[in-house]
Amino acid sequence: MKKSEVPQDKGRVSEKGSRELYYAVDDNGEYTTALSTGWEAKNIVQDHTMQEIQERIDQAQEDVKAGVVSPIVYFMELRRMDWQIVSDYTGMWKWRIKRHAKPMVFAKLNDKVLQRYADTFEITIEELKNYRGEECK
């Protein structure tokens, strides 16, 4: 890539006021560095990824509303986690968490267990317990 070809589209890093470094060749064929504000091709795949993540969150929200899953699933998706990550943060086995994802089981959880989930998702026990599938956070 030539230095003059380093893309300067409006990218995601530029949102927080930073740019990315590229290595590119100047007119004499010497390698040099150039800063880039972003690249359209990356925005497209990035947007698509975000869209898929949002779909997962929306689906989880619907499922909580329909009473198919417990709020744990919604907050897991909202925090971009999966079963393994929730397991690592809470220190509980995956199968136990999957059990807690059932609304019936979830309703019987004590505050000590709920607190571990609340800490993991960075919310309060009340927010976790009272989540009914609303649009939020």
Partner: protein, 331 residues
């Protein structure tokens, strides 16, 4: 308390931390040299390992390997420590800062407040330098950022003790010894040979063979997992190749820059030619990313697009096989 430390933006975090820490210690070494001598160029496909709900793919070796290999080849000694106790981790860091030692830290990016929302995944192999502390705020030099940042004690603890795959466990590291004399020629030839062997490895998921395997997988994705999932997988593949850290083209440009700098340093004009060639290959990787991004624009025949991408990747694998065979010969 602030240590005299020069923040420089680099393309990749691990190279950047290594380069900035070594410069601070008086060894002037660029990011491409760190990357090249650390044999940073790699390719591995891990279909059985799902990362963010997509098959795993990496354009670099495991975290820490680049700096470790670099250290070994240059005779540098690095001190590394991990912790189970966050308080102890902070004590060691504070102690270091008091002794004027800037420290490299491995962190998770999900809780990094200065990261754009789009990049905040549970990815735990990010690296940054702490070079001072004011009140209860740490001064942070994150090499992928243009400017320096600050993190409070709880914020830093959170990212140092992020959980999940490759959990950092408070991992702190810094160079403690740099030799007076360095045999650059030996280090560079050894490093290049290693990269050639990696890329030509007779392992189906590694190097050019790995690329061919991915090419076969891409071709099947639309029918095997459906267009929706295929599009998501493809997006992750392109993100791994182009997103912050690789310097574009899946590290190919950084590697070209290395070949050029190394060729001049040890006076091997052949490496300069190889650098030109790698740049051209890097451009083709960029074209591949552009081609892939078209999938999301037009809704026409998806299978054709995936077939075209698979062909492009096969072509890249052929070019790189030829390239690394040649590189192995000239070195």
């Amino acid at each position: 308390m602030q240590i005299d430390f020069e923040h420089r933006i680099t393309a990749h975090c691990e190279n950047g931390v290594a380069s900035n820490l070594l410069r601070n210690k008086g060894l002037d070494i660029s990011e491409p040299m760190v990357f090249g001598i650390g044999s940073g160029l790699f390719y591995v496909y891990l279909p059985f390992l799902k990362v963010n709900h997509a098959p795993g793919l990496s354009y670099r070796p495991a975290p820490g390997w680049i700096f470790n290999r670099l250290a070994k080849r240059l005779g540098i000694k690095i001190k590394r420590q991990k912790f189970s106790n966050p308080e102890k981790a902070q004590r060691v860091l504070d102690e270091n800062l008091r002794n004027n030692i800037p420290a490299g830290l491995q962190v998770g990016v999900y809780h990094l407040p200065y990261f754009p929302e789009d990049y905040r995944f549970h990815f735990n192999a990010h690296n940054l330098v702490v070079y001072g502390k004011e009140g209860n705020e740490y001064l942070i030099s994150d090499p992928t950022m243009e400017t320096v940042h600050r993190l409070t004690e709880p914020e830093l603890e959170k990212v140092r003790f992020a959980k999940g795959v490759l959990a950092p466990k408070g991992h702190i590291y810094y160079p403690i010894y740099i030799p007076q004399q360095i045999d650059w020629e030996k280090a560079i030839t050894k490093a290049i040979k290693k990269t050639c062997n990696d890329m030509l490895a007779p392992v189906p998921i590694v190097g050019v063979k790995g690329m061919r395997m991915v090419s076969r997988a891409i071709r099947k994705w639309p029918t095997k997992v459906g267009v929706k999932k295929a599009n998501y997988y493809l997006a992750q593949l392109v993100r791994m190749q182009e997103e912050i850290g690789t310097g574009g083209g899946g590290f190919r440009y950084i590697y070209s820059a290395f070949l050029q700098e190394a060729g001049k340093k040890i006076n091997r004009p052949a490496l300069l030619e190889m650098s030109d060639e790698m740049t051209k290959i890097g451009d083709l990787w960029r074209d591949f990313a552009v081609e892939a991004s078209r999938v999301y624009k037009k809704r026409s025949n998806q299978t054709d697009v995936y077939n075209k991408l698979a062909d492009d990747l096969l072509h890249l694998a052929d070019l790189e096989e030829e390239f690394f065979k040649k590189l192995k010969k000239v070195i």
